[in-house]
Amino acid sequence: MDNEHTTVVVGASLAGMHAARTLRTEGHAGRIVVLDADPHTPYDKPPLSKQVLSEGWPAEKLTLPAATEDLDLELRLGVRATGLDLDRQVVSVEEGDDVSFDTLVLATGASARWIPGTQGVEGVHVVRSLDDAMTLRAELEKGPSRVVVVGAGFIGAEVAASARGLDLDVTLIEALPVPLERVLGREMGEVCARVHQEHGVDVRLGVGVDHFDTEPTAGGGSKVTAVVLADGTSVPCEVVVVGIGVSVNTGWLEGSGLTLDDGVVCDETLLAAPGVVACGDIARYPSARFGQMLRVEHWEHAIQGGEAAARRLVADARGEAPARFDPVPWFWSDQYDRKIQLAGRPAPDDEVRVVHGSTEELRFVALYGREGRTVGVLGMNRPRHVVQLRRLVEEGASFDIALERAAEL
């Protein structure tokens, strides 16, 4: 990757910026061009649903370190990639000339999903970008009579907690009977629901949204006045936050020849095509550890993926054998004074054992076992145990041994 070699990184969030940083620190001498449709200095996203809303953190506090390090990156922000031509080795952009590359990193991430027909209705929000979070914060500061959060996944849960932190009345709506059941299983999902109930959130489970009631605004638009549930109940509110998941930003890659399947399909080294790697939320890769194709949306996974994708390109250039990418996914979620951490990939029907503390006091650590193997560790305000027990998931330790080791901690 000499002076003549150009790498284009599409996506300047966590994965893309860490890929760019790693390319440079691994000796990439040529141009590294980083494009992103978002016009803001590359920023960290976890605080968007937390400190930005509840503590009013300013944008400067979110800047990613790689954006200010002396890495000689050509950051082109506010530039949306619209297409990829692998034969000509160019990325086309919304305005301006095509961007040529020798090697390419795909890291365009994901976008929040809206309930169809509600985008643009005043008072209805998603939280994914800095602009999203700042707009929502401005509305929360006005002191709305009630905030309705649709979806009790981690983003919805964090937004509910942040709004309660501002002393606002909050209703949390989840279509499933138990939130997070597919991620944590029924028992632990119920524990997570209880956290909100104990903090005064009006939690409605097992009921979907039918529609939003709106009224016209002076500007010719409309604004939300209530959320009407599938059972006919109406919840009057001034603010709605929709947290029903994300869709991957791969539309610009359609017709490029890359294999797309809810993400960019890569091999076990994150290679999507010769000289083209993917990382972060859009990368779908085969995990030998879990015996399935994985696409992971966690924070540290984006860093690890960005680094691994960069090293994949570097290995090619050096003629070295590429490394397999297969870390144990993990993430954390801060809600009220609780820190939830999950490592591994539990399934709803795994065996769950609380090995420290108790779910009653909302301070515990639990292990997940499947077919005699340890597949996950969940902690609530038990960071030390989670980190120590995560090793057992990494090692694929037998569940019996993990239970013994946990008892020794």
Partner: protein
């Protein structure tokens, strides 16, 4: 090399402890303790990884 933690930012995610348990330790009071504030140069790569991986950007190195 001196390891500096900004405790106003630290949220005890214990990521650093996972990377370098001989330097960082989160105890049962949920606070992070730096066991060795001046680790040897041989530990630099690990400490730099902890700096990069800290979700709160709370760790820095002073040379």
């Amino acid at each position: 090399m001196r390891v500096v933690v900004d405790y106003d930012l630290c949220e005890s995610n214990a990521v650093c402890m996972g990377i370098a348990p001989e330097i960082f330790e989160v105890r049962d009071d949920d606070f992070l303790y730096v066991l060795n504030e001046t680790p040897p140069e041989s530990e630099r790569a690990k400490v730099e990884e902890a700096v990069q991986r800290c979700p709160k950007q709370a760790i820095s190195i002073e040379d």
